[in-house]
């Protein structure tokens, strides 16, 4: 079994209202000095068979086609 991780983050120039909400809540819990929070998504994907470059490429295509929207998000793929 090969496991891959896809991290999807809002692009830096795109407003992230959820991150802003979390950022706003942290000081109320006593966490001082937080200068920014961005919220993204993490996908863990298992593929049958051994880890390979072909698998990695397949996961990259999943990320491009479905898991992220290139208009508003960036993604990174790596094997775990």
């Amino acid at each position: 079994m090969a496991r891959y991780v896809v991290d999807v983050m809002p692009k830096p120039e795109i407003l992230d209202p959820q991150g802003k909400a979390v950022h706003g809540a942290l000081p109320r819990l006593g966490f001082a000095g937080v200068s920014d929070v961005r919220q993204g998504k993490r996908f863990e994907i298992e593929l049958e068979g051994e880890a390979s470059d072909a698998h990695l490429e397949q996961v990259r295509q999943m990320a491009e086609k479905l898991l992220s929207n290139p208009v508003i998000e960036d993604f990174e793929v790596h094997a775990q």
Partner: protein, 222 residues
């Protein structure tokens, strides 16, 4: 004219959209997300709601519903397609329209009567309006902030593809106050406010939304 209204799992406004189609003088045809048959319709409405629970991103899963393969193909041949709210999100995810819709900048769901200016009137969905017409149409969304990169925004404005813009307060942080856009040809239109909720005096802020459904009558098909 036969106007199809697609029901996805989680669509909310499909019945209202079918009703608006009928009040607009057309035959409403119910279409199902899992069926790639468009049943010979002349135009398609993708209604509002929370298709597939808005999982992943609004419209991201619906884009791959079997019916959307047929809608994308028909849109490419010039069939009029109107996406309202969640339907607009689906059109963006399908790459039929540029840009994307993200969570409202103020992080709250907004529901109100919204003033708009109709800017592009040479589309099959807006030809009943006078250019620059100011109308009031119901708006209700949690993820209605229209975003795109600067070159895309410049292109939308430069080519006159912005079909409607918010007046008074921008309700959701949409860049350049954009409420709706079209493709170059004008047959595909996405709109965040809900014209189907503004077609009768009894149940809405007025009848300003009716034009989106009566415009079709004036459309000449090649």
């Amino acid at each position: 004219m036969k106007v199809g209204v697609v029901t996805f799992p989680g669509s909310l406004d499909d019945a209202d959209a079918r009703r608006a189609v009928r009040i607009g003088g057309h035959e409403a045809v119910a279409l199902w997300h899992g069926d790639d048959d468009l049943k010979g319709v002349d135009a398609v409405v993708l209604p509002g709601g929370f298709s597939y629970g808005d999982y992943l991103r609004c419209g991201a899963i619906s884009r791959f519903a079997p019916v959307m393969t047929s809608v994308v193909e028909a849109a490419g041949k010039g069939m009029p397609v109107l996406g309202i709210c969640n339907g607009f999100q689906i059109l963006c995810e399908s790459h039929l329209l540029p840009g994307a819709l993200i969570r409202n900048d103020h992080r709250k769901f907004v529901c109100r009567d919204q003033r708009l200016r109709i800017e592009r009137v040479d589309t099959p969905w807006t030809s009943a309006y006078a250019a620059g017409a100011e109308v009031t149409i119901v708006l209700k969304n949690g993820e209605g902030g229209f975003v795109a990169d600067e070159p895309t925004l410049d292109r939308l404005e430069g080519e006159g593809l912005v079909i409607a813009r918010y007046l008074d307060d921008n309700p959701n942080g949409s860049l350049r106050d954009i409420a709706g856009i079209s493709n170059e040809r004008g047959n595909v239109v996405g709109l965040m406010p809900h014209p189907e909720h503004a077609v009768e005096d009894l149940t809405g802020p007025g009848t300003d939304g009716l034009g989106f459904f009566t415009s079709l009558a004036a459309t000449i098909f090649a």
